[in-house]
Amino acid sequence: MAEASPRARIEAAVAHASHLVPSQSPLDRFVHHNPLHHFEELPFEVAVERAAELFGNAPYWSEAAYQAEYRRGRIQDDDLDWAIARAAPEDAPLGVGVTRHALMRAMLEHPVAALNGPALAWHLAETDVLTVARPGLRPEVFHRLVSKAGGDVPRALGSLWAACRRRLGDAPPPPEAPRGLRLRDRLVDAGRGDIDGLIHSLLIRWSGAYLDHGIAHWPMSHRDRPFLEAVRLHLQHGRGLGRGWLAHVGAWFRSAEGQRLDALDTIHRMLERLGHPPADWRAVLERTALALPGWAGMFQRLADRPDTAPVRQALPTALADFIAVALVLEVGIGEHLLPGKGPLVRRVPAPGAAMAPATCAPAWLFFQIAQSLGLNDYAVDRLDDVELQAVLAEARAFDGPRRQAVLHAAYERRFRVEHLDALARHAVDQAARPAPERRVQCVFCIDDREESMRRHAEELAPWIQTLGVAANFGLSMYYQGVHDSRPVALGPAPVEPQHYVREVFVDAQPAPSRWRAWAKHGINVGSQTLLRGAVVTLAGAFSAAPLTTQVLSPALHERLNRPSQRGKTRLEYEATGDARHPNGWKVGYTLDEQVGVVRRTLESMSLLRDFAPLVLCLGHGSDSANNPHAAAYNCGACGGGRSAPNARLFAKMANDPRVRERLAAEGIHIPADTVFVGGYHNTANDDVLISDADEVPPSHRAPLDETLAALAEAAKHDALERCRRFENVPLDVTPEQALRHVRARVNDFSQPRPEYNHNGNALALVGRRAWSRGLFLDQRAFLCSYDPDSDPDGHILADLLQMAVPVGAGINLEYWFAAIDPYGYGSGTKTAHNITGYLGVMDGHQSDLRIGLYHQMVELHEPVRLLCVVEAPPERLLAIAQARPMVGRLVTNGWVLLASLDPATGAVQYFEDGAFRPWPTPLDPLPRVPTSSDWFRGNRGYLPPAQVGFGDEEVA
């Protein structure tokens, strides 16, 4: 093991790098996942900081951002105290009445400006830092500061500054000399420019050409060979007019032709030419891959899951090839820049002077802290040298990143306190209320966006009981609708589906007018060629009309271009014999499988008895007109697809008498008069549609119509609630106007925010709806139905958490990181995106493939880790965490926060530092409002929980 062969070492290093590169699928299969998936073995805070260093991203928001939150009350004093005590468990006196905690507190409340040299001199000369005390000092602190000077602030500050300067001086500590690892890093340190620009300009072009799934007219040849080989075949002729380094690259490729070197051999040769010792190999390869993480990740992803590619092609992608090409280019440039003999890294000249980072001059640092603490010049002079240095050392140690971490902890705690308090209180109030009548059951996805829809439905029609379940409805299939050109996977992302289901027209349907599509395609493609283009563009003035309607009236444009009404369709889902799809999937489900699906799904929503006569199962999805990331807005449980077919198929199966018979034998009795109806909720424009309506028996038509009317009304209010987030919608619109707005919005191709998706998600409730019904949760909660009474041994809960926690954490953490650093962990601003290869987006002309959520999607999000509140005793939760490592890892390392709600009493316990601790039920009542609208009207930001529909009732 000690002396692995170079090849094995390199292979291991590439494998290591392959975990670090992002694993996002091509855009149309966008699925939320934790960007730091590979770090889940570490405690959350440690991972955040380590990853920030590795990827060069921000670990937390800037201090200023948190301070703004503090000023507006989003972070409160007791949050700060709690976070400080957590970060530094031991308080210690530091001299003249100053303690460690007081010092930290002072540094958190008032931002410390790091100044030195000319900047400091400028501030002293031009600003009022020496004449006006820092803003926001508490009166007693201010008094202490200026009382000795008789209230003369400039005099007090002047002598304080003089004292600080006398004692500490204003020379900041010298910066450290940089030491780069890669050849590129060393060249940067030596002031010779960043050669990554050159490497990447070629690497991106060729990667784009190689991975292209259909944008280019003229595809790259030899794409059936590995990337390195294909590039070699093209670049071996390179002479590089004006770019001598291309000649080096070409020469290497020519010499490599006869040697049959694969990617690993090439990497080895290149590492030797660069002169990296074997001990550095892993780090060098890791950083080479992470210099262009998006493209590297796409090579890896298409190798891992070729089925996620938008078109099936035989592309033998591998991360090793990508790294090999990058290294060949780096060596070529190195040879050109640093002519000579010997390993390249040793030819780099010594680094020049280091750029001074923004460290703070000691006197200035102390001057600011002294003001925040109310220390005047006498106090400063009373400190002896040891104490003074101790305070300074404490202050230095509590540097930017430490302060950010503490501030963030305080920020998250406020949310937790607010919501756990509310849940605990609401549970008590709710226990005293009678259960409402139940005539209809509506099953929604656990998605946080359905929270408001469910709340409004229950508010407007109390006879509706809503349930939450992952909207793949236990199905994992390749589905091909009548309008789909290819099957899409509808099921949880990590699982590769095994079944194939097709939608067909029942009655003979005239073929869609293909000539129009062909003509459109022809014009579009033709306009980009030379000769056809000349003809097409000469007639291009006719596109003025559609352009005008698209921009000025999206609704009209949509109406004019809406495809003709579709005919009646059915799903083909019954397995007949052992039929297989050409791709190897089973065609349809056998009866056994159908029973399994229905049982598992009913179990997972704990709907095993008390069936209402009508059970409406709604999948969901989201429409938009101009959004490469549309898949991210759809159903997470369906891997970025719309889950309408799942709901439809599930309803079909659950209505099947054969299935019901078998279920009855297994102890689940679905009454004969219970009808399941599948449907679809469009979360962008709030449409609610149902499928196979013609199969609903006449006895159930009236209740169905009544339910749909109620849901339509709820949709209006849901639209109203969502519209308050859109800054360009006035706050005083009516529900009808709101609905009209969201309908126009989804068709507007100039709209980068068709909806706000999972913005705000921070809570997951697993338990009976009774605990949360009537609580305003502001679209922030995943709501999972679970009834502990029907799960005596806890296996349903274990399965449920195994499914829901990683999915919820994936969404939540992807939002968390993108909201913290939208340009590092996210894909930056959407307005610069440029679709490449039908795979992903680049920024502008050529850049890394941008991975993750874009800024417009997360701009309102509050980065707060998911707080899971589960209706189960703590012991059971601990047992599940033990038995299911996927859940346990997330919970024990703090990636997901956990609380238990006692099924009998509603008492809350919170999991912290490895143990559950009781969360006291607050005595203060929650705010109460008659309807949700009364609570959110006139507000744009996030609102604390409130009790809805309690207005006219007397509650104990």
């Binding site: 900047a119 001199a121 400028w122």
Partner: protein, 445 residues
């Protein structure tokens, strides 16, 4: 008597500027108030005396070249003293600035050959005096002395030869290539505001306002200046620190303006004078922006993007505005003056025109290059304050004046032409097309 009315307007501007200065200095420290008031009064009284003299040729004159200059000087002095970073601001600096201005004004108002040259020489001595002790002064001593000596020498040669020497003296003073070393060196070593105050107003040109370059020298001189404009413009682009780049940029602008001014008696000479006024105002604006930035940030490194836009958006806009205003951006006064000025070179040879336009183009690129380097790119973490109210008022006023004169350049020109009886005397180099221009049929509303 439109001349007098215009004079009064200009006087009013001057008086306002002086009042503003007084107000500002009173707030600061009382010491420079005396010299300031004196300077203001000298210029006012002197001007009034000269106007009363009804344009009699005397030792001091008010005419096309000098009068607008008074306004420009008052404006620049006000702008510099108003915007100067407080750290650099001292009574000593004020006093020296005022001395510089007074001598420059005297040079501008002088018209008798030998006295003119002697004053110019004296101004070199004053400039030397205002430099801080030590390195900058050593650096500047040689060129200053030689320019003074050459100017004095011009009084000894026959009058028709004197202009050669004066032009040489001014070229050395303005630091055109290859005499740029001292002027650019100041930017690294002297307080930046002082370096700006010495070089950016292109003060030496005042000595040439009435001194046409003899015809037999234009070719050599123009070729020299074009070469200088290219080299200094190019050097501004390859600099590694912003202050030096600014020094080269000013030298490049000086080269272009010198070509314009050297076209004596021609349309282009007028253009050159217009350009002188406008360019010096824009260069001072640019210099003050750079000085304000350097005071906040230290030496600005050009080897990589600094991304200061996020911290100082207003400075970014002002930097680009003033920079572009020196290279004839449409909407600023320089556009019109350039248009007029370029008619000089074209009458020599179209190739000279293209070469000169190319040099101006290069300067335009330099502005964007420097601006993008400093303000664009990934932001660096820093505590950096954007423009202060005081600086904002000073710089925006300067910018507004440039825009307003740009929109109505006729006002600028009137000041330069109506003072004299007719059009500038026709030079032999004039083209016939200019004498009898073809008038197209235009419907005049």
């Amino acid at each position: 008597m439109s001349t007098i009315r215009l004079d009064l307007v200009l006087l009013a501007i001057g008086a306002l500027a002086v009042l503003a200065l007084v107000a500002r200095t009173l707030k600061l420290t009382a010491r420079p108030t005396g010299p300031l008031l004196a300077a203001g009064l000298v210029s006012l009284v002197g001007t009034e005396f000269l106007i009363a003299a009804d344009h009699q040729r005397s030792f001091l004159v008010i005419d096309a070249a000098s009068l607008p200059r008074l306004a420009v000087w008052a404006l620049l002095l006000w702008a510099i003293t108003w915007v100067v970073p407080r750290r650099d601001d001292s009574p000593a600096l004020m006093g020296r600035l005022l001395a510089l201005v007074s001598v420059s004004l005297l040079v501008t108002f002088t018209d008798v050959g030998p006295a003119h040259a002697a004053l110019f020489a004296a101004s070199s001595a004053v400039t030397w005096w205002i430099l801080p002790h030590g390195a900058p002064r050593r650096l500047a001593a040689l060129p200053m002395a030689s320019s003074a000596l050459i100017a004095l020498g011009s009084t000894l040669v026959p009058p028709e030869r004197a202009p050669y020497l004066m032009y040489l003296a001014v070229a050395i003073r303005l630091g055109v290539f290859p005499f740029h070393t001292w002027a650019v060196g100041l930017f690294e070593r002297a307080p930046l505001v002082l370096a700006v105050a010495i070089t950016a107003p292109l003060a030496g040109i005042g000595a040439l306002a009435r001194t046409p370059l003899p015809d037999d020298a234009w070719f050599a001189f123009d070729v020299w200046m074009v070469l200088s404009a290219y080299l200094t413009g190019g050097l501004a682009i390859v600099q590694r620190r912003l202050d030096r780049a600014l020094g080269f940029f000013i030298a490049a602008s000086a080269s272009v303006v010198l070509i314009g001014v050297s076209q004596a008696g021609d349309l282009a000479h007028l253009g050159g004078l217009m350009m002188w006024g406008v360019t010096s105002a824009a260069l001072v604006g640019l210099g003050l922006v750079v000085a304000a930035l350097s005071a906040r940030w230290g030496v600005v490194d050009l080897t990589r993007h600094s991304g200061l836009l996020q911290h100082t958006p207003s400075f970014a806009i002002l930097f680009l505005f003033f920079g572009l205003a020196t290279v004839g951006a449409p909407g600023t006064a320089d556009f019109a003056s350039q248009d007029v000025m370029l008619h000089g070179p074209v009458s020599h040879h179209p190739a000279l025109l293209l070469a000169l336009v190319g040099a101006i183009s290069l300067q335009g690129y330099a502005v964007l290059h420097l601006g993008f380097r400093v303000f664009f790119g990934p932001p660096r973490p820093a505590v950096l304050k954007d423009v202060l109210l005081r600086e904002h008022i000073g710089l925006v006023t300067l910018a507004l004046i440039l825009v307003l004169t740009g929109l109505a350049p006729q006002a600028l020109i009137s000041g330069l032409t109506t003072a004299e009886a007719g059009p500038p005397a026709a030079s032999p180099r004039q083209l016939s097309a200019r004498v009898a221009p073809q008038q197209p049929s235009l419907p005049i509303p």
